[in-house]
Amino acid sequence: MSDQPPTMLTQPQAATAARAGGGEKVLELAGVTVELGGRRILDDVAFSLRAGELTGLIGSNGAGKTTLLRVILGLLAPTAGSVTVNGPDARHSVGYVPQKFMLDPDLPVRARDLVALGIDGHRLGVPRPSRERRERVNRMLDAVGAGRFADARIGRLSGGEQQRVLIAHALINQPRLLLLDEPLANLDLRSAREVVDLLARIAREQRIAVMISAHEMNALLPVMDRVVYLADGRAACGRAEDVVRADVLSRLYGHRVEVIHVAGRVLVVAGEGDDAEPSHPHHLDPEEH
């Protein structure tokens, strides 16, 4: 793995190239099926993620978002199907921010310690402090806007602050794939917006494939290149503009929703009346239209 300090947010790389979908495939899932406790949680899920793209993993509570991310991470073996992370040293080229977990306020780990553990937390032995290492951590903390609380114990930070530190922890080793499980769940609108913008910039400038799970996609709509929808264990995926449509979403949510374009943004709102078709979301198959 490269030991170079991250060139975070400084490379003037063309976001348009990413928008055009030119990135190489970083992750490929084919026919992934997961059964837990006799229940089929994921059913024949297939999609791929490309470098430089930001993908939303959308689904309601219990849809299987966390399960899918755990499969990608190799923490859970699928019942069937394959997961391929392209490139060398696959395991350490995936960064992960788990769904909100409780941190002990008295844990003697500062924000900067957790970020440093992102460099080599899996290695044996004690870390050797060095100026270069400290600066690399500082740069990373600044890049995610966490410099202010770098010396605070992580358990005492607010949800939004912890989120930034965890993102720094996941990013410092320059992964090619970054997975975030509900990173916006405890954030107010403004912080959510900031975190989303930050992640979008990271995806474009670092040429990283970023996948963000959410049960509510509004905050992601402005930046999302592609969407993977989970419902009933099946996934519908495609470019945001192909999937974020009234007919598709109404079927997916099981009730009528409207997709409104205002001021360059897409808003998804609950529609009038309840004349939605089926009460269960369906697989997004072309022939269903």
Binding site: Y96, P98, P108, V109, G121, G125, I154
Partner: protein, 309 residues
């Protein structure tokens, strides 16, 4: 016993000798530093204190104080069974602690809830065995002098022949903790985060439990099975109130633990001249009381700091 105060001059700079000398003479009853039993106790107790402080920080971080306490209570079964068959207690302490740690790991010490259940089960079995062995030991050996030693320790009765084994075991525990330092810390923050980085969380946890079992056995030896948790957890908890950096906490805990042990030895030696005259109070009492005082002081200090901003 040699009672020559002049042996002290070897470690006191000449210029300050008279002042320090006078102070020490007031503080320390004559002969403390020259006595062979004291020297052995200071070295053995010191080694154990340092190991306990360093390992204890992770015990507190991982919320495994209860497991540590259970291991030490079970240790009394080991110590008493060793006594029964005529082995040195340390072998009993180590053997039974490691076995109990393995049992706890099997039952499910990795999950917080399973951890308490597993610990409780093993704890109960340990106490039952301890009561049996102590009873049998008393019956067969026709004496009860060993029992307080097993339960409450007696660092002054240790012999210097124990030293190589104590140092060896301490080194093993420290080696495990130092080797696993980073994955252990990461897994203590979040097992999920560690697992995602390829850390084998369960293996790391099991290895740490082994280091904990060894450390507890060493504490059983010096301050006794009943009190050993205090030495394991007390200095670490005090240190964690004072610093937010893991390695500093570990070093600070080792320092606190060492200071409490040595000061405890000194007070126990002095207490030889307290009532009841010529009996001396148990050294473990002093050590544990000092640990408690430091813990409370650390809390006050941390609160004071917090109030000042």
């Amino acid at each position: 016993m040699t009672r020559s105060p002049h042996t002290r001059t070897t470690w006191i700079p000449r210029s300050t000798e008279t002042a320090v000398h006078a102070l020490l003479r007031a503080l320390v009853e004559p002969g403390f530093f020259a006595d062979g039993a004291v020297q052995t106790a200071a070295v053995l107790g010191g080694v154990v204190a340092v190991v306990a402080g360093l390992i204890g920080v992770f015990t507190v971080i991982r919320s495994q104080a209860f497991a540590g306490h259970a291991l030490s209570d079970i240790g009394s079964a080991g110590g008493s069974s060793a006594y029964l068959i005529g082995l040195a207690p340390l072998w009993g302490f180590v053997g039974i602690s490691v076995l109990a740690a393995a049992a706890m790991e099997r039952i499910g010490v990795q999950r917080a809830r399973g951890r308490d259940v597993a610990t409780g089960i093993v704890l109960g079995v340990g106490f039952a065995l301890a009561s049996l062995f102590l009873y049998l030991g008393m019956t067969y050996h026709n004496g009860s002098g060993e029992i307080p030693t097993i339960l409450f320790g007696s660092v002054f009765t240790l012999s210097s022949s124990d030293l190589p084994l104590v140092i060896g075991l301490g080194a093993v525990a420290l080696l495990v903790a130092l080797t696993l330092y980073r994955p252990l810390l990461l897994a203590s923050v979040s097992p999920e985060l560690a697992a995602a980085r390829g850390v084998r969380v369960r293996l790391v946890g099991a290895a740490y439990l082994l280091a904990l079992a060894i450390t507890v056995a060493l504490c059983d030896l010096t301050i006794g099975a009943i009190l050993s948790t205090a030495l394991l957890v007390g200095p670490a908890a005090a240190a964690l109130r004072l610093t937010s950096r893991p390695h500093r906490a570990a070093l600070l805990a080792a320092g606190i633990s060492l200071a409490c042990t040595w000061l405890g030895l000194l007070l126990a030696w002095d207490s030889f001249y307290w009532p009841p005259l010529r009996h001396g109070w148990p050294v473990s009492f002093f050590i544990v009381t000092l640990v408690l005082i430091v813990y409370l002081a650390a809390g006050a200090l941390a609160r004071g700091r917090h109030l000042r901003g």
